[in-house]
């Protein structure tokens, strides 16, 4: 029967972002857990305050927690962890700015303002992602 063979869903923005939001949400939780556990393993338990640890967890970059004295901090600057950090930044920024878009579009209809706000959000997204990556690479 015709109906039981499903065509591939059309890959529109809403569809992709809906899936991405769920995947990125899960991965951010995963990254944070890894970041915090790794931080704790590397001595943060005794040498970092909680706030810094959280900051670390969300953005495990030495520049971000410069005021702590974790001896092994510079382990994080190798290539593998840099890729991890870039992923966190990309996932978090995209998840967040898409969330902002969804909230705004809940309250708006298609038209000029929707295009305009999308454009604005797109710029912010590009900007903060690039800045994040810049910080990671340059530190």
């Amino acid at each position: 029967m015709r109906s039981r063979v499903m065509p591939k869903p059309s890959w529109n923005l809403e569809y992709l972002m809906w899936v991405f939001t769920r995947l990125s949400g899960l991965s951010i939780i995963l990254f944070v857990v890894i970041g915090i556990s790794a931080g704790l393993l590397m001595g943060a338990r005794t040498q970092m305050d909680l706030g810094t640890l959280m900051r670390w967890g969300f953005f495990p970059n030495p520049n971000h927690v410069l005021d702590s004295d974790i001896p092994d901090l510079f382990l994080w600057t190798n290539g593998f962890w840099q890729v991890m950090q870039i992923l966190v930044v990309f996932f978090a920024a995209t998840h967040g700015f898409n969330g902002l878009r969804v909230v705004l579009e809940d309250y708006s209809s298609p038209g000029f303002w929707q295009v305009f706000t999308r454009f604005l959000i797109f710029l912010l997204w590009i900007f903060s992602t690039l800045v994040g990556i810049y910080v990671i690479i340059s530190s």
Partner: protein, 234 residues
Amino acid sequence: MQVTLKIFRYNPEDGRKKHYDTFTLDADPTDRILDLLEQIKGSEDGTLGFRRACAHGVCGSDAIRINGVNRLACKVLVQDLKSRKVTIEPILGLPIEKDLIINMEPFFDHYRSVMPYFVNDDPPPSKERLQSPEDRERFDDTTKCILCAACSTSCPSYWVNEEYVGPAAIVNAHRFIFDNRDQAASERLEILNEQFGVYRCHTIFNCTDACPRDIQVTQAIGEVKKAIVNGRLD
């Protein structure tokens, strides 16, 4: 016992702004809210506007807001309420015509937009199309919908966005999408896979709570989302 009803009033013809009228009347614990409205209309104020038909929760005429939540007036008894003061307002998100009567047209427009009808272009067999009890059970929940609009008008996304098709429309699409005799599932999923299809559902569950037929509305929407994402029906 004495019950006080605070009822939303608005009549475009009398020039007054929207306001509330209060009525106090004697009621039995087993009286329906609808009975009280009838009593008010019959003996106190005949101008009170509300809809009703079957009076036992199968026609879906009398969806209103009782103490801040969407209910059918004929399915709430006085004894079900926590207080003896009842606030009665029209459902949210559809234009108010008069008192508790709202304009249902936008709601039915959304309903019609999801192909809420059986499609099977194959020539029918001489007898019934066979369907196993399990396949029939798959979409049983959503066949119960009476189109009362209680779900859609409890949905914060529906309130603020005129384009969103709303829970009721998705429920009715679900009823056919998961009917294995039907052939237009992919078209319906295509319709719902749009900006104002399932993606405006943020799993707030007001719809499930409001449904007078106990349909698991949010679950139905979730199943449709999953069908879209997976590209398969199971």
